[in-house]
């Protein structure tokens, strides 16, 4: 059996996450879902080593504590939920920050700008962009890292429909290249694009499996308190 790309054993974050154990294989596109305050961002930050957490976390079989911070920057790309910029760095320089742990070699920066349609904005100060554009900058930075573990916290929420679908396409491409892509999301209509779904409620893992197995009527009722009804509706695809 393949070594999991990300492995969590009884991981807890005081008051926010309780005893989560999880194995995520390489080349998987994984969605983390749950109601507001269920611990999605906490889980993502903990598995990235960005929050102090109890329990065991390993990347590719190696305990996170044994991986120097600089090396982590080569293995992980994290897109935060909020895109706050106090200083007016240019779009290009923010995307180029993704190469910090590669010795600032600048590789893949132009390609990442193109992938997120940012080339025309490359020299614009990032603090003068709209919320959606800022998120595209952060996603481009994540793509520029070429990291095998990609963690995008509600990255799609601020994007328009075309860029959201485009981003999912990039996530799929990364997955096919062997990366593990984790994204937290609220729009469950996008769940059909995912290989696996991790469901959290009140800081606890309540389900983990394929979307078809996990996203049942009873789960929607128990976790989200809503009634799910499968019906043909609006379907959007990239033209």
């Amino acid at each position: 059996m393949n070594t999991p790309a990300v492995s969590l054993r009884t991981v807890s974050v005081s008051g926010r996450l309780h005893d989560v154990s999880l194995d995520l294989g390489p080349g998987r596109l994984v969605g983390v879902i749950g109601p507001n305050g269920s611990g999605k961002s906490t889980l993502l930050q903990a598995l990235c080593g960005l929050l102090p957490a109890a329990g065991e976390i390993a990347w590719n079989g190696r305990p996170l504590a044994d991986i120097p911070v600089y090396d982590r920057g080569r293995q992980l790309a994290w897109v935060p939920q909020e895109a706050r910029f106090e200083f007016g760095f240019t779009v290009r320089s923010v995307v180029a920050q993704g190469r910090y742990a590669h010795g600032d070699d600048g590789a893949g920066v132009d390609a990442a700008l193109d992938l997120m349609d940012l080339r025309p904005l490359a020299h614009r100060p990032v603090n003068r962009l709209s919320g959606g554009e800022r998120h595209r900058v952060l996603l481009a930075r994540a793509l520029a890292t070429a990291a095998p573990i990609q963690v995008w916290d509600e990255a799609l929420a601020a994007l328009d429909v075309r860029h959201a679908l485009q981003t999912l396409k990039h996530a799929d491409r990364l997955k096919r290249a062997g990366s593990t892509v984790l994204l937290s999301l609220h729009d469950l209509r996008l769940a059909h694009c995912l290989d696996e779904v991790v469901v959290l409620s009140d800081g606890r893992l309540v389900a983990h499996g394929t979307p078809d197995d996990v996203l049942t009527e009873s789960l929607f009722r128990d976790v989200f308190g809503v009634t799910a009804r499968m019906a043909p509706g609006l379907t959007l695809e990239l033209s």
Partner: protein
């Protein structure tokens, strides 16, 4: 190449040229005007009068001005990156007041007479205490309001300490004069001793140089920087230590000189953008140039103290900045 890149490349040579011009002016301007030829002769001891004026008065003053200017501006730059707030600076946050309070206590208690190192050491201690308080009161990413309120509270508290010391030693004229010097900030009567005391600023500047790139990433937030591979804890510790020591040393030799750490990095950022790899050297040379210019203005305007000139320039600038940032 973007226009900002072009400006960025030109900024350092232009700033250094301005710095050289102001250094020459600083050596030349005074009761006895010395032209560049006489300065040259004086420096090589070919002109005895010029030599005495330069080596005993103007050269140490000019060097102290350069050192404290570079220290205050780069200290402000580091604090702005640390707090992710372009209004953070050693003066506004109370770090300079902490340094001044430490120096004033050393003078007031009579410890200054025991060793020339007592005042700088106490200034560093005072600045460290103030920095610790600011970190507790306003963590990284704190809002402008919270930062400024923390600074107001600290400045008031440390002002009370200095006032208490001042009121307790009203009978000792010499100590009082020294204390008032520290409170107003100035470069009068600076000697080679002060140059030596301030000389570790050069080491601080060297240590600051490699932090430029990590500071870029840190100014986006500690968590993001860590995810990109920055050892946040280590870099932040070094940043804070350097900003505190640089500000404290500047305060130890020239007293409280306000607004340099706010104006210089801010103006430079407006001109060349926020990349710290450029801003670190520019702040060092730009700060030196700014303080030399303010000192010259003060000398030409009837010997106004440096702290008064920087406040006269910095006060309106700060209000403009506050108005701009609230939009």
């Amino acid at each position: 190449m973007s226009p900002r890149d072009t400006v960025g490349r030109l900024a350092l040579p232009v700033t250094m040229a301005g710095w050289l011009v102001f250094m020459v002016l600083s050596l030349g301007v005074g009761d006895l005007w010395l032209n560049p030829a006489r300065i040259w002769s004086g420096l090589w001891h070919h002109d005895e009068l010029a030599s005495v004026i330069l080596y005993q008065i103007r050269l140490p003053r000019m060097l102290v001005a350069c050192l404290i200017g570079g220290a205050l501006a780069s200290g402000g730059l580091v604090m702005q990156a640390y707090f992710r707030n372009s209004l953070a600076s050693p003066g506004l946050l109370g770090v300079s007041s902490g340094g001044a309070a430490g120096a004033v206590v050393a003078i007031g208690m009579g410890w200054a007479a025991q060793s020339i190192l007592t005042v700088p050491i106490m200034a560093i201690v005072g600045a460290c205490v103030a920095t610790g308080a600011v970190i507790i009161l306003a963590r990284s990413g704190a809002s402008t309001e919270r930062l400024l309120l923390a600074g107001v509270a600290l400045n008031a508290l440390l002002g009370a300490v200095t006032s208490y010391v001042l009121s307790n030693f009203t009978l000792t004229y010499e100590r009082n004069a020294q204390i008032i010097f520290w409170l107003m900030g100035g470069l009068e009567d600076r000697t080679w001793e002060h140059v030596w005391i301030a000389s570790p600023i050069l080491l601080g500047a060297v240590l600051l140089w490699p932090l430029g790139r990590p500071m870029d990433l840190l100014s986006l937030g500690a968590t993001e920087a860590q995810s990109l591979g920055v050892n946040v804890r280590s870099v932040r510790r070094r940043m804070l230590a350097l900003a505190t020591v640089l500000s404290a040393l500047a305060t130890a030799v020239a007293g409280t000189v306000g607004f340099v750490g706010l104006i210089v990095p801010h103006l430079l950022r407006l001109i060349v953008g926020p990349e710290h790899k450029r801003l670190v050297p520019l702040s060092l040379f730009g700060g030196a140039t700014f303080v030399l210019a303010c000192d010259l203005i003060g000398r030409c305007a009837g010997n106004l103290r440096l702290g008064i000139v920087t406040s006269l320039v910095g006060g309106p600038f700060f209000l403009w900045l506050l108005r701009r940032s609230s939009r």
